[in-house]
């Protein structure tokens, strides 16, 4: 059988998008080192925030600051780390419900092993020193008692 031909292919979508008044505000907040949620008509707070209520489709506008501490709602352990992810060490992945928010967000858990992870544990945000308005400005979450 003939040898298979090989060629490198860079797949890219070189579009730019505007992030709008809600996602844009959230990302700008990350750059400033704060985390924003958004209040629904029933008073509960979504974080990360969406422009529209996921049930009623009503526009949402009332941004509120949440976190940086919160509670771990679920977790798993990622080893080896995934090639394209922001993390180059084995790490946890969690659903974190931040203080002041009613819904959890997905992010990394920066611990050395899964041994100490448990549902309900307190965690807090760790920021990158240089931030650009990106979800990975949050380096991840660490146990609150290991806060630095």
């Amino acid at each position: 059988m003939a040898e298979r031909l090989r060629a490198d292919l860079v797949l890219e979508y070189p579009f730019t998008r505007t992030t709008g008044p809600v996602i844009g505000a959230f990302l700008t907040g990350l750059r400033e080192g704060i985390i924003l949620g958004i209040r629904r008509p029933d008073g509960t707070v979504l974080c990360p925030p969406t422009e529209y209520d996921p049930e009623s489709s009503e526009p949402l506008t009332d941004l509120v600051e949440v976190g940086p501490g919160g509670e771990l709602v679920s977790w798993t352990w990622v080893d080896p780390p995934r090639a394209q992810s922001p993390w180059d060490q084995p790490h946890g992945l969690g659903l974190i419900r931040l203080d002041g928010a009613d819904t959890p967000m997905v992010h990394g858990l920066l611990v050395e092993s899964p041994e100490g992870l448990s549902v309900g544990m307190r965690v807090t945000a760790r920021w990158r020193p240089e931030r650009e308005g990106h979800i990975a400005d949050l380096e991840g979450f660490v146990p609150e008692d290991a806060k630095q």
Binding site: S74, W75, P104, M105, V106
Partner: protein, 351 residues
């Protein structure tokens, strides 16, 4: 409403089709589905396909695959960037509108050239989730822990679902993962691949394709001894962000089941396209499947998950049970997106 039936199905699946192009894969499958009911492409009123440019690594990749159909002289044709079950839905709508009496539906996927659990990150929202590249197994593990902690399911039940797939797939030549000997003990002894999920909780990814011929009314009766009449078909969607949903539930699956009349009568068999045992459990609850329904006799999607085709394959498997008179009323299910975000239910009956 017109009476519309699945009159012919054909499919192929294996672990990796390394040296086979999508066109080479689909030529024999499409030919088999058409020739089984004595049709050529000239007899087909409408053709619709489902596939993914992200898997092919090329924009408009489905256009190449039309070579497997034969598009000269020009044909009436459409494509969805979704599982072929949604292509079947479009064809069903086209047949309802009238003007055509037959349709060819097909879909295919080759995920073996890449790592599917990572490629699936590209279906996530591009601001909050996508840039973190959380892989599909890890995200499913977050749901699994919530389900276990809340008592929605037990590890024992997940193992039973895995064993049902492994054992059922032993008689299915298209399955890529099977074991007649697997037991709940052997599954529970597996080391986690994404804690708390074990390898047998996660669908075995596969390459493959499937083709289905639909026909309306008397045309279906001419073509097929026992058509699988579509009595109800519906698809629904839930919000994307995992935080805004109760991950113990899939409301869109329940809505699709209600709207397709799944619970109106006894179901002999159900074929579910759940990529994880946790999600197969949720589907059984949401679709209201009882003890009298044989679930995933083929092994289901757990035994071989061809991205973009797993749902249409389930509908084909369910329809085949009507064709060969093993069942009188069946359900085929397809899912798409994170945590069963989108669900399609197709209820079929024999006469």
């Amino acid at each position: 409403m017109r009476d519309i039936a699945v009159v012919s199905v054909a499919q192929h699946q294996e672990k990796a089709l390394t040296n086979t192009t999508e066109v080479e894969l689909m030529v024999p499958i499409i030919n088999e589905a058409r020739s089984a009911v004595g049709l050529t492409q000239d007899d087909i009123g409408f053709t619709c396909s489902g596939s993914s440019d992200f898997l092919a690594g090329q924009a408009f990749s489905f256009v190449h695959t039309l070579d497997a159909v034969g598009a000269v002289p020009p044909i009436s044709e459409s494509h969805v960037e979704m599982d072929g079950a949604w292509a079947l839905y479009e064809a069903w709508v086209k047949l309802q509108i009238g003007g055509v009496d037959t349709a060819l539906v097909y879909s295919y996927g080759k995920s073996s050239p890449g790592s599917l659990r990572d490629v699936l990150s590209t279906q996530l929202d591009p601001y909050y989730l996508g840039p973190l590249w959380p892989d599909a197994f890890s995200l499913a593990a977050l749901q699994a822990r919530i389900m276990l902690e809340s008592g929605t399911v037990s590890e024992q039940r997940l193992a039973e679902i895995a064993v049902r797939s492994l054992n059922g797939a032993a008689d299915n030549p298209l399955a890529v993962r099977s074991s007649a000997e697997a037991t709940t003990e052997s599954v529970l002894a597996e080391a986690p691949i994404a804690d708390p999920l074990r390898p047998s909780d996660c669908a075995a990814s596969a390459d493959g394709g499937v083709a289905v011929v639909l026909a309306a009314g008397d045309r279906a009766r001419e073509l097929c001894e026992r058509p699988a009449w579509i009595r109800g078909i519906d698809h629904r969607i839930d919000p994307h962000q995992p935080g805004v949903r109760d991950l113990n539930r899939a409301p869109s699956a329940q809505a699709a089941a209600v709207n397709s009349g799944a619970g109106n009568d006894r179901l002999d068999a159900a074929e579910l396209a759940a990529p994880f045992t946790t999600q197969e459990h949720i589907l059984e609850l949401e679709l209201g499947l009882g003890n009298g329904t044989a679930v995933n006799a083929s092994g289901g999607a757990l035994a071989g998950h061809t991205m973009m085709a797993a749902g249409l394959m389930r509908i084909a498997d369910a329809a085949a049970q009507i064709h060969n008179e093993r069942a009188d009323r069946v359900l085929g299910h397809a899912a798409s997106g994170l945590y069963l975000q989108q669900n399609l239910v197709c209820v079929m009956e024999g006469e």
